[in-house]
Every structure is written in C-alpha cells, then in structure tokens.
C-alpha cells in the first residue's frame, strides 16, 4: 500500500532524511520511532505531500506521491503533531471544510461527523471556535478530520500527545479498528508504549537513517535482548549506540 523507496530529503546543506526505504502493508500499523531531530516528522510530511523529496520515490497504491499527488492524497488521512487550524472556524465547520475538500457528499458528511463526534466524545463542543479548544480537543478534531473521508492510509504524527487517558484509549482503539478493516497506519511517536502496544512492525530512525526495522521479536533479537524486553530497552540499545 505504502512504498517508500530510497527517500532523501535535504534542507540546504542539512540532510534530514537519508536513503530511507520501508513498506506499510494493508491492515498493518507501522510505527516510526527515533530521537528528536531524527527525521520522523519530515518523513511523514514527505508522504503527506507537504514536502518534496530530494531523491527517491514514495508510492501509495502504486501511484507516485510526487507525480500524481491529487490521486494519492485522496486516499490518505493526515494527523499532524501540531494541529493548527484557523482560530475563527468552529470544529464543525472545520470538519465540513475538510470533508468538502476530499469530496465527501454533504449528506454523507453530516452522518459521519455526527458518528465521529459521538465516538470521540466531542458532541456538544462542535460549535465552539477552534481558538477556544484545549490542545487535546484540537488534536481530536484533527483525528476526526483525517478519518472523515474514509482513507485507506493514515499518517499520524504523535497521536497521543495532549489527549487525556480515556481519549488516548479511544484513539488507539480506533486506529487498531481502522487497521483491522484493512487500512494501513504509519505512526510516528515518542510514546514507546503506544508503538509497542499497537504496532505490528517498528522502524527506528537515527539522524535521518533507518537503523532498524522489524517486528518486536525481530528488533529484540537484533538488539540481543530477551523475549520480554520492552521497546524502550530495545530502542536504547539500537538508537543510542
């Protein structure tokens, strides 16, 4: 579903991402972890089409993100790490706005918005202005906007930051359910327990390079740790050596 092939991204002299390749399959949650400044957010932005790769290619359903951006973006839902939205818009208007951009018919949009608001316990808050929402509620509206058009690939940058424990549980449950329905999820996070809990495979980025990739078991073996070693131990061994 998502195929990243030899992606490099430079900002002037600085190399943010260097020759990174990986794949995310349908029904799979793939987590990308790594220290601050390792290129995780840049990688997600490259896939979402917010940045252009210096070299390499990204394909979604066999279509290139750079050559056919409209088609590839229509099947992707993107949740940024800082979900800034126009302060003068209400949550409901924002959801309708993004739904309209993705071509969701109004009737269908209304039903889906109602359902998603209820699921994420936002019903009753949707007519407040965005500037009045808490950090967590802004994040939740961004998640709703990403799910609204029923994407096939979810790109999530720090999904749990700012969410209260109950909302974090709901979000994790929804992401897992999304994957079970055949969707693919790319999760970028610092919250290692979340990655360990819901991701089928994990990639570790360090200084823009993918230093390790595999299931928890494969990563443990590579780090030469026992079968019950937690991800943070594996991470320390692989990313900080």
């Amino acid at each position: 579903m998502l195929l990243v092939q030899g992606i490099t991204k430079r900002f002037g002299q600085k190399i943010a991402v260097k020759d990174v390749s990986f794949e995310v399959r349908p029904g799979e949650i793939f987590a990308l972890i790594g220290p601050n400044g390792s290129g995780k957010t840049t990688m997600v932005k490259l896939i979402a089409g917010l940045l252009h790769p210096t070299s390499g290619d990204i394909q979604i359903f066999g279509r290139s993100v750079t050559k056919d951006p409209v088609a590839t973006k229509s099947v992707v839902g993107y949740i940024p790490d800082e979900p800034a939205v126009w302060a003068a818009m209400t949550g409901e208007e924002f959801l309708h706005f993004t739904g309209a951009l993705y071509g969701v018919p109004e009737r269908e949009r209304l039903m889906r918005i109602r359902k998603l608001l209820t699921t994420f316990r936002l019903a009753g808050l949707e007519q407040e202005y965005f500037e009045d929402y808490s950090r967590g509620n802004k994040q939740k509206f961004a998640i709703l906007a990403a799910l609204l058009h029923k994407p096939k690939l979810l790109l999530i940058d720090e999904p749990i930051v700012g969410l209260d424990p109950t909302s974090a549980e709901i979000a994790k449950r929804e992401f897992s359910a999304f994957a079970k329905r055949g969707g693919a999820v790319l999760l970028v996070t610092h919250t290692l327990p979340v990655a360990e809990e819901i991701a089928a495979r994990i990639g570790i980025l360090k200084e823009g390079t993918l230093v390790a990739i595999g299931t928890m078991g494969e990563l443990r073996r590579r780090a030469r740790l026992g079968p019950k070693a937690p991800l943070d131990a594996v991470y320390r061994k692989l990313a900080e050596r």
Binding site: F11, K45, A48, G49, L50, L51, H52, P69, V70, A71, T72, K73, S74, V76, Y78, P80, E82, P83, A84, V85, W86, A87, A88, M89, T90, E92, E93, H96, F97, T98, A100, L101, Y102, G103, E106, L110, I113, R114, A123, G124, L125, E126, Q127, E128, Y129, D132, A145
Partner: protein, 562 residues
Amino acid sequence: MIFGTILRYHLFRTGRYFARHSFARLFTAAMFMLVFFGVGYAVYRFFLNGFMFMSLDTYLREALFLYSSELFLFIVTALVFVSSIISSLLGLFRAERDQWIVASPRFGIVPLYVSARAFASSAWPFFIIALPALFAIRNSFGLSGAGMALSIAAIALLVAFAVLCAVIFLMIVSYALAAIEWILRAPFVRLGWIIAIGSLALVVGGAWVSVRLSSTDVVELFRARTENAAFAGTEAIREKFAVFPSHLAAGVLAAYEAGDPAGAVVPFLRLLCSVLAAGVLLYILSRWYLPVWQKLQEGRFHAEPAVLRDVSDPVRFPRYFTGQTGALFEKEWLTLVRTPRNALWLGFMLLLWMVQAGLNAYIRHSLVKYRVNLEEAVHILEALQVVVAVYFMSAFILRFVFPAFSIERKTAWIVASAPLDLARVYRAKFMFYAIVFLLIGGGVAAMNIAVLDLPLAEAALFFSLIFVAIAFLTALGLAIGALFPNFETDDPEILSTSMPGLGLTVLCLAYGALGAGLLYEVLGGASLVPLAEFLAASLLGICVFAGFPPRSLQRMEFGVDN
C-alpha cells in the same frame, strides 16, 4: 528591568535577522530605507510647495498656517488613536506571546508594554509625514532650530498622549464589561447589542467632530471677524480646535511661526502635563489588570457547559457555494470577517476612504460656490480619486492578498495534504479577494461618481479604470506573494515590509500614477488610445497572473520550520 529584557530580546531578534542570509536582508533593509526616504522626500516637497504658497500671502499667512497645522495634527492624532485601539485591543488581553509576562509578578507592566509597542508602531507617520512637514515649515516659514526641536518634542508628546488615551479607553471599557459581567449573563442581554450601541455612539461622536471641523466654509472661517483687518484673524480657528488635544501642539508651532517663542512654552507644558496625567492614570488602572485579564480569557466573560445541539438542525458548510472551491471561498470569508484584527483593520481603512470620498462633496460645493473652473477641477479630482483608490487597494492587497499563502504557515497542512491542485487554491483566493475588493472599490467609485456628478461617458471611463485596476492589482499581488512565499512569520504587517512586498508597493503606486495620468489626459481632450492600451494591457495582465499560477506553487513546501 523587565523593559530591559524585552528591549534586549528585540535587539537580539534584529541582530539575528541580519546575521542569517545577510546579503539578501541587508538589501531588503537598504530598499526599505530607500522607499522610506523617497516617500519622506516626496512628502517634504509637497508640503514645501504648499507652505511656500501660504507664506507669500501676507493676509492669510498666519491664519492659513494655523488652520492647516490644527487640521493636520488633529488628523494625525485621530489616526494614531484609532490605530492604537486596533493594535492594543488584542495586545492587551489576547496576546499569547505576552502570557509569560502576565504569569510573572510584574504583570501590571503589560498595559505600559502594549502602549510602548503602539507608540513604536505609530512612529512611521511621525518620520514619514510629520518630520518632512516640519522641515518644509523650517524652509518656508523660517522655523528656528529651537522651534524645530520643541515642535518635534510636542508632536512626539501628542502621539504618546493619543496612544495612552487609546489604551486607557480600552482598559476602562474592559473593566466596565468585566464589572457588569452579571448583566451580560442575563438572558435578555446580547453582547451584539452592546457593541451596536457602542458603535452608534462612535458614529455620533465622529459625526459631531466632522460637523465641527468641516461644515464651516473655509473662506468664511478666515473672513468672519476680520474683513477690514490687514491680517486674517485666527480666533475662529483657535476656538474651533480648542477642544482637541492637538490644539496644544499646533499652539507650539503657531507661536514660533508668529515669532513669539515664549508663547510656545505654555501649550508645551500643558501637553507635557496631559501626558504625565495619562501615564499616572494608566499606572493606577494597571493595578486591576490581572483579574480583568483572567476574566477576559474566558472569551464571552463566563464559562458555560457544552450544550448538546439538536442534531436534526446541523450546520451546513459551505453555506453559499458547493464543492472544493465553495469550501475554499467560505474559509477565506470566515477568516477575513471573524478575525477581529482583520475586520477592524479593514473597517478602519474603509472609514478613511469613505471620509476621503466624502470630502469631495465639500470641495465640489466650495468650487461651485466660488465659481472656480469646475470642469477642470473635477478632472483633477477624478484623476486624484484613481490615485487614492489605488493607494487604498494597495494597502488592502498588501495586507490580505500578498501574504495569502505565507500566512498559512501553520494551517497549510489542511489544504496541502488534501487532494486538490494548489492552482485551484490560487484561483479561489484570487476570485474571493477580487470579488470583495471589486464590491468595495465599486461602491466607493459609485459614491465618487455621485459626489462629483460626472457625465455618463466620464463615469463609465472612471468606473472601468477603477474596476480593471482593482482586478489587476489583486492578481499581481497574489502572483508576487505566491512567487515569494515567506514562512518565517505569519504576521501580515511584517510580511508586507519584505523585499517582494516593497516591490509590490512600488509597482502599485507606479501603476496608479500612470493610470491617473492617462485618465487626466483623456479628460483634457487627448486621444483615448493610450488609456485604451493601458486597460487592454491590464486585462491581459489579469488573465496571465490569475489564470497561470506561478510554477513554483506546485513545488511549494509547507511546514518546513514547524
């Protein structure tokens, strides 16, 4: 001490600005200074010609000088007061970046800090208008060095007084709103009604001021009590302006012009005392700043629990159009009208434009009354209106259209990650702003046509030129903004002073001057061909700039630095 920290911070920011990409930024700064001094020099020449003309008329010399000083300083005071209201409104209670000061034990310094910022941002009219005017007075009326220094100090004090009054006014209104919170909670009270009553009071006040200043015939003003005297009297003028604080600064100037330096001391000291009194009042009000700030953070003065709405009556969006373009259109509209800073700025500029257009009625009335060559004068006014329209449109375009892509720095992820071509976003922005500005510009042009009582053919020509100019400048502003996006800041006022912004300003003003010149020639009986070519070239420019977005738009990267 806290002011020292803030000052160091701004100095550090300025230093860092020039440290990175130093050549490009030095070039930008140099161009800025060039435009700044260029405009200042043009203002100086304009005032010099006017003052020279005045100084030659021994009968009217003193009265005319006093009247123009009074009127000029009154306008400057009003402009500074209103712009300080707009800039301080959000700075006092809604500036997120000042929260660290509010969280500190020195929270009471915020109103003073906001006043200092408003004073600094009001400095440009001082340097670009007041200072050249003073030099022109010096070279036409022979203002002495001491007179020049005291006049500069008086104008600076006047600006400080206007800024302090604006901040005090805002604080008193905010404190009053916070104090009557229980009334606002009452079900029959609507904040909209309070705002409407306040706005009505402002309109009534504005009307009173305009009647006081402009309803009197200028000729009668000078002749009223002095028909047999060797010099025109100044009593009527002094009486008319005595209620305004600008009268004190004008008194300083007038005393030096009349060769009576001692007469400048009293008004200057009165002005100084007014500023000190306003400062003391601000200090006293600052003691209650924190509790009011806390209360106003709640948005509508009280928190309320979420209410489950009837789902059978959902919001429709987009409300007026359909599809992607409709959604983009409505988003632009909402962010324009629901952002107080945008709406206030637009309203203020529109008010100024309306006042300027309204003044034409007064000028035309005087021309008819004193049997001046009406046709020639109306032609000059028509051409001037084109320049004025382009000036206001340039201001609107620089504020809204030029930074339309750059200000999306943080929110760009929404549109940039959606399945739509950025060319569509570009065209939607053009269509939106072109329609809004054509409605505004068309309305004011129609008002001008009615006021100047233009014949049908002239009216059609005038209207066509204004319409084409608005569409062309909107397309040009958007194209330059898209070609040179700047994601380092989302402040449109900073973005408009960037190198491309300054370039756009120069292009707009040159375009307006050329269009006005060609119209004036045609009205004077010259061939229509050059103006027709100008209009045709503008239409072609609209098609090119609006129809073919810059290729770099497709390669635009969002969220590089967030």
